[in-house]
């Protein structure tokens, strides 16, 4: 099947999947045995039926669940994701505000993971059972098994509190003003505003949380790349390339590593989705105002429109990540055809 047709089909399936996601999220969030009134109204206000009725009416909670769902989907089809009960802002505005912070963090973490994990995996595979391999395997194991919460706090303690190399938690130094919001990517907004110092400050704040968030992915990518390299290095075509007298670096990088990358691409795609949706702990430790924190707050305050919005965004990210993985497969190995 032609790649363009395949992509077109997948994109067309997206709305159907999203409707399924909204239904699932709606049912799950309404199945929780708790009432948004309890989470959002004070003790005295919740005891006043008039106040409770006004609250339910304001947020459409006085309608039956099926009605609430249909109204939500109807509005969604018109581009309205509703209004957050907690922030009183449009959910789309909230997401537009918080998602870029997570994208920034996840993107930086993924870049670090790839920059460290792939070379380390290649070296460990090529230098099997040497000291380099042992160190890389131990490092990967530590990266995969270390709780992010603990790692984040230790990193802050050492690099911020003790050594003073890293700046404080947050996206910017507390005394700096945020640049005017244009894209909500702080670095980009700072550059657009001509505030180079603020952009640099924002970048410096990104390094430590991105390193911490990347620890797990580095571990996974390194191990996957190493294993894959070991498989590929034993293949006939690699032996042939060596027998032809090609330089070792060329054999390793062009013949072995390129083919060994295929399973890694899958992991990278899924990891990126995981980084976007699962950065909540890193975001909490580093006071990073991203999607993870927003999702947590929405869930604990039973902010249904926000929960639905997060569900849609995370599902879309996974769908697109998988699509990109498929496309990357085809690019990395032209023998693969879509079907």
């Amino acid at each position: 099947m032609n790649l363009a047709v395949y992509i077109g089909r997948r994109v067309l399936l997206l709305p159907v999947m999203l409707v399924g996601i909204t239904l699932l999220t709606f049912v799950l969030s309404h199945a929780v045995p708790a009432d948004p009134v309890a989470a959002n109204l004070g003790e005295q206000a919740a005891a006043n039926p008039e106040v409770v009725a006004a609250f339910r009416h304001q947020w459409g909670l006085d309608r039956s669940p099926p009605q609430q769902y249909l109204i939500y989907v109807w509005r969604l089809l018109h581009g309205d994701m509703g209004t957050s009960i907690s922030t009183h802002q449009a959910v789309a505005t909230d997401l537009g505000q918080d998602l870029p912070a997570t994208v920034e963090l996840a993107f930086a973490a993924m870049l670090i993971s790839l920059a460290v994990g792939i070379p380390l995996g290649i070296v460990a595979g090529v230098r099997r059972d040497t000291a380099v391999d042992q160190i890389s395997r131990s490092g990967s194991l530590i990266g995969v098994s270390m709780p992010v919460f603990w790692l984040g706090l230790v990193a802050l303690l050492i690099f911020y509190a003790w050594l003073g190399w890293a700046p404080s938690a947050g996206q910017l130094s507390p005394r700096l003003s945020r640049p005017p919001a244009v894209t909500n990517f702080v670095v980009i907004d700072a550059l657009l505003a001509g505030e180079a110092d603020v952009a640099r400050d924002a970048l410096s704040h990104l390094v430590l949380p991105a390193l911490v968030l990347s620890a797990y992915s580095i571990g996974v990518i390194t191990r996957m790349m190493r294993g894959s390299m070991l498989d590929v290095l034993g293949e006939d075509y690699v032996r042939t390339a060596r027998a032809k007298g090609l330089p070792a670096l060329r054999v390793t990088l062009r013949h072995a590593a390129r083919n060994a990358l295929l399973p890694v691409i899958t992991i990278v795609g899924l990891s990126f989705g995981g980084l976007l949706s699962g950065a909540v702990i890193t975001e909490t430790v580093f006071a990073w105002p991203g999607l993870g924190s927003y999702a947590f707050r929405s869930a604990t305050s039973l902010d249904f429109p926000a929960i639905m919005g997060v569900g849609i965004v995370v599902a879309s990210v996974y769908v697109f990540a998988n699509l990109l993985v498929d496309v990357a497969y085809a690019v990395a190995d032209p023998r693969i055809r879509m079907g």
Binding site: G42, E43, D94, A115, V198
Partner: protein, 558 residues
């Protein structure tokens, strides 16, 4: 630690030049790794420079509170942080001085008098107050602001439940006509949610104070990002869930505050707050937690305080045996009181927490003397169990498993209560629930027994009459005023205390009611908590008041 010290600790630049001119696998990997490290370090170093430059702005105060903001509109706000910001940006008729909750003082109201049998409160307003917009503050603004709170029917509406009418006979006189006498209306009026709004400007932004305000008012969005008050600060920006920035109001009637800018940051993790305070990136932190506060108490550049909070932590039992089983038996409730190890409970509650004899917090007039509190006596507890005739008393206790308030971790406290009760033969099964679920069960009167705290909505002991039969908490424990003659009498004493104008007589009534409550009520009073919090030692005038937190007007940097 100064920024100069930070600079001296920066690492030397990383040399990324390859050892040889030829590119080998080994030096390719080494160069890549070194390049990445150098880039990261470079960014860190430059970032530290930017931080150092920023930290020199000494007239900015950066605070990390327990960050929950549902609204910054005075007509809707109730949670502590929202009230702190409203207190800074809107002036109320009366105010309190720092942590002193017992002496409301004139503020926008220069004076007041009470007539009509305690039902008419006449306030004379100051004539020199202007809103940040430049409009003068008059009685029309007070009337409009109060009517808006009442008619919006939102969180703070209950503050004015007893107000029958607000009138403005002249531009600087406001009269509140109450349905029943209520001396607590004065401390209630100190609340940030009852700050006076610039009615003309607010109306132009879609605010409405009429009877249909609940459906006609559309100003909350605007008021979440702009303040329309005359307070010492102006809301400069609000990024939901991230930060609030307040700027000094140069027109403020008491004179411009010493601090030019206040940045209130959302830093959810207690340890991150502690590190920021220690390093000087934060000036005030109120979400430190007990262990971090103890560690920071050894840091000379940080002042740690434990401020008593107007809150009462109690264990309570549903009076319906269908729900709470044998725990509802009055003898078993008495046995629980004697079984608990209060010294151990206070250790978990943290430094500054005080044993509470009744249900009114120790820092409010009307509290019982802590020396009256029940002492641990396990033999007596066992004797009471025997008197009950119940061989193996048992029941279930709910608690919010994800909640920490004032540094108190609910799961640890619940386990302590369980262990103490097990020591005398009372079996309590712990039922840890997510906060919203636990709250929902309690409000639906379905919690069998529970541990939790009630925090004052306003600084007056009568707020804690909620524990009486037929009132807010009593109802949730299925304890109506009609439960018994004694319960009915207790409820009546509560009504009397609420209306009593004489302060001494009021205190006597409140104390009598609490003693009766301990005889017949389903409560086991535990403690009044203290908040562990800290600030940089170069700040002066920093206080933490449990109703509105910190008053930034009094904060100065030395």
């Amino acid at each position: 630690m100064t920024q100069g010290t930070v600079k001296s600790q920066r690492p030397a630049a990383v040399d990324v030049a390859p050892a040889r001119g030829t590119l080998t696998r080994r030096n390719l990997v080494a160069a890549a790794a070194a390049g990445a490290a150098a880039a990261a370090m470079g960014a860190l170093r430059r970032g530290t420079t930017a931080l150092g430059a920023a930290a020199s702005s000494r007239d900015t105060v950066v605070m990390a509170p327990s960050y929950v903001i549902r609204s910054l509109d005075p007509g809707h706000t109730l949670e502590p942080l929202g009230e702190m910001i409203c207190h800074a940006t809107y002036d109320a008729l009366v105010t309190l001085n720092g942590e002193d909750l017992s002496n409301p003082r004139p503020h926008v109201a220069a004076s007041w008098n009470v007539t009509g049998g305690g039902r008419l409160y006449t306030f004379t307003l100051r004539r020199d107050i202007r809103f940040a917009s430049g409009n003068p503050l008059t009685s029309a603004d007070v009337k409009w602001s109060f009517e808006r709170v009442m008619n919006l029917k939102s969180n703070p509406a209950f503050f004015l439940d007893n107000v029958a009418a607000v009138t403005a006979p002249d531009p600087y006189t406001v009269v509140l006509r109450l349905r029943d006498p209520q001396p607590s209306i004065i401390p209630i009026l100190s609340n940030g949610a009852l700050g006076i709004v610039d009615s003309k400007t607010a109306a132009a932004q879609g605010a409405d104070a009429g009877p249909d305000a609940a459906s006609r008012d559309h100003a909350e969005g605007y008021l979440n990002s702009h303040s329309l008050g005359g307070g010492a600060f102006i809301l400069e920006s609000h990024t939901p869930n991230q930060e609030v920035v307040l700027a000094r109001n140069p027109r403020h009637w008491r004179g411009a505050p010493s601090i030019a800018r206040v940045v209130i940051k959302n830093i959810p993790e207690a340890s991150t707050q502690a590190l920021g305070l220690e390093r000087g990136d934060l000036d005030v932190a109120t979400g430190l937690g007990l262990s971090n506060a103890q560690t920071l108490s050894r840091v000379p550049s940080v002042t740690i305080k434990n401020s008593l909070i107007a809150a009462s932590f109690v264990m309570m039992v549903n009076t319906d045996p269908e729900l709470s089983g044998s725990l509802a038996n009055p003898k078993i409730i008495q046995a629980i009181r004697y079984a608990l190890d209060y010294d151990g409970i206070l250790k978990i509650a943290g430094p500054g927490a005080v044993r509470m004899a009744g249900v009114i917090p120790n820092n409010l007039a009307g509290a019982l003397d802590p020396r009256e509190a029940v002492k641990t006596d396990r033999d007596r507890a066992k004797a009471l169990i025997r008197e009950s005739g119940i061989a193996s008393p048992r029941g279930r206790m709910n608690y919010a498993s994800d909640q920490t308030s004032f540094g108190i971790q609910y799961p640890i406290m619940a386990q302590k209560l369980q262990a103490d009760l097990a020591a005398v033969g009372i079996t309590v099964e712990l039922n840890g629930l997510p906060g919203a679920v636990a709250l929902g069960e309690y409000r639906a009167a379905k919690a069998p027994a529970l541990f939790g705290g009630y925090v004052a909505d306003y600084p007056d002991a009568t707020d804690f009459l909620v524990y009486l039969p037929g009132r807010l908490v009593g109802k949730r424990l299925r304890w109506p005023a009609t439960a018994s003659a004694a319960a009915g009498e207790l409820a009546h004493w509560g009504d009397q205390a609420e209306q009593e104008a004489d302060a001494r007589a009021r205190v006597a009534l409140l104390q009598k009611a609490q003693r009766r409550l301990l005889e017949i009520g389903p409560y086991i009073p535990l403690f009044t908590p203290a908040l562990p919090w800290g600030y940089r030692a170069d700040l002066r005038g920093v206080t933490f008041n449990s109703v509105w937190g910190t008053d930034f007007f009094t904060v100065k940097r030395t």
